[in-house]
C-alpha cells in the first residue's frame, strides 16, 4: 500500500527562481494539503486541494500556488523565491469525500528546499 510520495527529496534554488514540488497521495485518498515547516517549528498550513480546486488557504502570499490533477496528485509552485522560503515542505493526503473530518492525515517524507 503506497503511502504519500513526494519529489524531489532535496532541492537547492537561487533567490528569485521558481520551484515546483510534487506529491502523489496515498491510494484511496482524494485530498492533498501542503505544509511548510521551518527549522525548529511545527508545520504551517499552506493550502488544501480537493476535486482539483483550492478549498482552503493559510496565511501565505500569492507566490505560493498549487494544482491538483484528476488522479489526485498535486503540485506546489513557489515563485520569486526568498531566503525565508527555505524549509521542509510536507504534503499530506486524507479522505474528505466521506464527509468525516476525523481521519488522520498521511504525510509524505517532505522536500527539503534550500534557497541561497
Amino acid at each position: 500500500d503506497a503511502g504519500v510520495t513526494q519529489s524531489p527529496t532535496h532541492l537547492i534554488k537561487t533567490r528569485g527562481q521558481q520551484v515546483t514540488l510534487r506529491c502523489s497521495p496515498k491510494s484511496g485518498h482524494d485530498t492533498v494539503s501542503w505544509y511548510q515547516q521551518a527549522l525548529g517549528q511545527g508545520p504551517q498550513f499552506i493550502f488544501q486541494y480537493y476535486e482539483e480546486e483550492e478549498r482552503q488557504r493559510g496565511n501565505f502570499p500569492d507566490r505560493f500556488s498549487g494544482h491538483q490533477f484528476p488522479n489526485y496528485s498535486s503540485e506546489l509552485n513557489v515563485n520569486a523565491l526568498l531566503l525565508g522560503d527555505s524549509a521542509l515542505y510536507l504534503c499530506a493526503s486524507s479522505l474528505v469525500g466521506t464527509g468525516d473530518p476525523n481521519y488522520g492525515y498521511t504525510f509524505g517524507s517532505g522536500t527539503r528546499l534550500t534557497v541561497v
Binding site: S33, G42, F45, L90, V96, G99, P101, Y103, S109, G110
Partner: protein, 113 residues
Amino acid sequence: SQQGEEDPQALSIQEGENATMNCSYKTSINNLQWYRQNSGRGLVHLILIRSNEREKHSGRLRVTLDTSKKSSSLLITASRAADTASYFCATGPYGGATNKLIFGTGTLLAVQP
C-alpha cells in the same frame, strides 16, 4: 499562525521511563491528533482523539483531552531509544468542510539507552 503550545520544549529520559508531554490550544476543536517526526522528515500519525472523548489508548500511548482547559497530554510508557523524535499535537478546527490541521510547536524527546 500556530495555535498549539507544547510543554516541555525538550525532554530527556532514560529507556524504560515514562514520557509525558502536554499541549494547549486556543479555539474550539473537532479533534486533536498527535504526530511523531524523526530527524526532520515526514510526520507519522500516532493517535486521534475526538472532542467528545476524554481518554484514548493505543499500545504504549495514552492521550487525554480536557476541552474545558483546552489541553491535551500524551503519555508514552516504557520508553525505548526508538521513541527519540519530535512530537507534535495538531488540532482539527471545529466546523467547516475541511480538515486543515493547526500544529503546535513540538516537544523534542530524547530517550537515552
